[in-house]
Symmetry: C2
Subunit: 357 residues, 2 copies
């Protein structure tokens, strides 16, 4: 039986980087007997261009049928003037919500070959390998009521609702403990329980789920302190679990600690482990179409998909090893280039990984 | 006419560090003719101990009469089991709200003498001098409705409301532009306007206020990107203005960039420029009572008070210069100590600054 993979190139550098993922998947199929079928559909600005919607119904239908979805990136200045509901980001938020992709895994790994790219001192980040688990379908991102209204006294106000139910917290907490069990068995739950009631419930539920995982050392940290600790001593963390908005902020900070966000993949999973995979970097409109984007985060997203959704751990290992070899050989796209390395483009980098499989 | 200063030692290391501030203020009075009267009152856990409330009414009354309020820090494990409304943090949040201290200035400055303490590489942070202006009396911190409730289907949910009115945004935006005018004339407003309606209103109002400040270069940045940029290239910023929760997170990250949060003061101002001043570090219960806490952030908070609330810029300069001289002499509390420096305690450090006035 063949794995069905849906490819969503999206906008900006999206098409260029997923082209290399497609190349990789074809190579795995042809040379290493990976059983895959690929389809492609439009999302984001491309979805709007093709079908008038950032998440066309046809794309959503294909995504539901797929065993794994690979996304490039969405967004770009061309779409900035569209009304709110048509903006590229709405497509991304809609697919996360529609597919109930509540568990967003964002690893922050420092590749030893790229250690010098970090803004942090080598002893602070050397060997960094932390996993941020971000809740992805709740909180202020989706909470109702929301909007901009005019009060009775004529004053306008904008408002959003930061809301989590017990089952929503429980399932992400459980994912956090499961991931911690497969790693260093340390889970840090990040909240703002000294200020927010929603965080108090969060903490209470996380504590309760913890009883089912006696082998995991659970700690709690306020989000402001977590932001500090990520800068001060990021290696203290193994797995961090947190709500949607805090996760958005902290995972981007954590990614930047490595200095090479062009290297970092992510997975967004539903309760059955089906998921959407995407590089954590954005659509980078400024370099789109120039063939210089780094495809490695996307190729590593393919590896995550093989591992988490397709049950193909050996193929995932193969991809990750190939990426490691290419880095060892000194090939670098401009974003990760340093003195003494060979500067290559998107396509050369993709081909190099395929050659190193 | 004498300036009335209210001192709120609070909890943990609070009493130790404000004792040095008191010493400093007495020295300025005796030796440099600063006209001040000091009073002291209880807040936080100390408020609870003294009067059963984290913000006793008597403290609030004195704070209203004062020209400036100096706070040590609040909170500690002794108070962790208290009900929500009695917790030390509630005292801090209540005084901010009651005095309408909406403008929270958090400078992140790297002292050249302490450059090696940063987790970041010297070229990334050397010369760092950025100001984060955090809105302090709105957003999810104070938004209604809030709580934990049981839905009709029996499921519990926690909820908070992230809300800003147009006048609230306008006044903090205006403060941001005013501060930028006195600095490098660059203001970056941080929001999450691609997801939150409250941020869309925020951005719209900031844009409108900008028309009154044609000399300030305004930019907008999403909060996740801002967290990244602070790690990647913090010197790109001059002044950042943002809402309460984003400001809480980003200002702590920014402070930690310097590696010496024991050095950083803050000011929380009302519309008339009256304010509360406090070190940005917390109550550090683990080292409380040991005489090893760094009092410099508190002494620099006194300098900020002299400058912003009391109109005593020359005295402020005097204090800041004295701190610089003590650092030049190599005196260091344990938190900022490095090889080749003299390790001193809280009191010795306070005395050294007074001697260097
Ligand atoms: C584009 C934006 C809506 C999105 C988010 O905030 O979730 C992005 O920042 C991310 O983290 O994937
Ligand atoms: C103690 C806490 C309530 C407070 C806040 O979140 O505002 C603190 O973190 C701060 O930044 O002053």
């Amino acid at each position: 039986m063949s794995h069905k993979i849906l490819i969503l190139p999206g906008d900006g550098i999206g098409p260029e980087i997923v082209a290399e993922a497609t190349r990789l998947l074809h190579a795995l199929k042809d040379r290493f007997a990976l059983a895959v079928e690929l389809e492609e559909a439009a999302i984001g600005g491309a979805g709007y261009d093709a079908a008038g919607e950032p998440l066309p119904q046809a794309t959503l239908d294909l995504a539901r049928e797929a065993d794994g979805v690979l996304l490039g990136a969405v967004g770009g200045p061309r779409y900035d003037q569209l009304p709110w509901e048509k903006r590229p980001e709405r497509g991304l938020l809609a697919i996360r919500s529609q597919l109930e992709l509540f568990a967003n895994l964002r690893p922050a790994i420092l590749y030893p070959q790229l250690a010098s790219a970090s803004a942090l001192k080598p002893d602070i980040v050397g060997g960094l390998d932390l996993m941020i688990l971000r809740e992805l379908t709740g909180g202020a991102y989706f909470g109702q009521p929301r909007g901009i209204r005019t009060r009775e006294d004529g004053v306008r106000e904008g408002f959003n609702t930061l809301i989590y139910s017990e089952p929503e917290i429980e399932r992400i907490a459980r994912s956090g403990f499961e991931i911690a069990m497969k790693r260093g068995r340390r889970l840090c739950s990040v909240d703002k329980a000294n200020v927010l009631e929603v965080s108090q419930l969060w903490r209470e539920v996380v504590e309760r789920v913890a009883r089912d995982y006696p082998d995991v050392a659970l700690s709690h940290m306020y989000v402001d302190n977590a932001a500090m600790q990520l800068v001060r001593a990021p290696k203290q963390f193994d797995v961090i679990v947190t709500e949607n908005m805090f996760g958005d902020i902290l995972s981007d900070a954590a990614a930047m600690l490595t200095g090479s966000i062009g290297m970092l993949p992510s997975a967004s999973l539903d309760a059955q482990g089906k998921g959407l995979y995407e590089p954590i970097h954005g659509s980078a409109p400024d370099i789109a179409g120039q063939g210089m984007a780094n495809p490695l985060a996307t190729l590593l997203s393919v590896a995550m998909m093989l591992r988490y959704s397709l049950g193909e751990a050996a193929q995932a290992d193969r991809v990750e090893a190939a990426v490691g070899r290419v880095l060892d050989q000194g090939q670098r796209t401009p974003d990760i280039w340093s003195e003494g390395c060979a500067k290559v483009g998107t396509r050369e980098m993709g081909e190099a990984v395929v050659a190193a499989l």
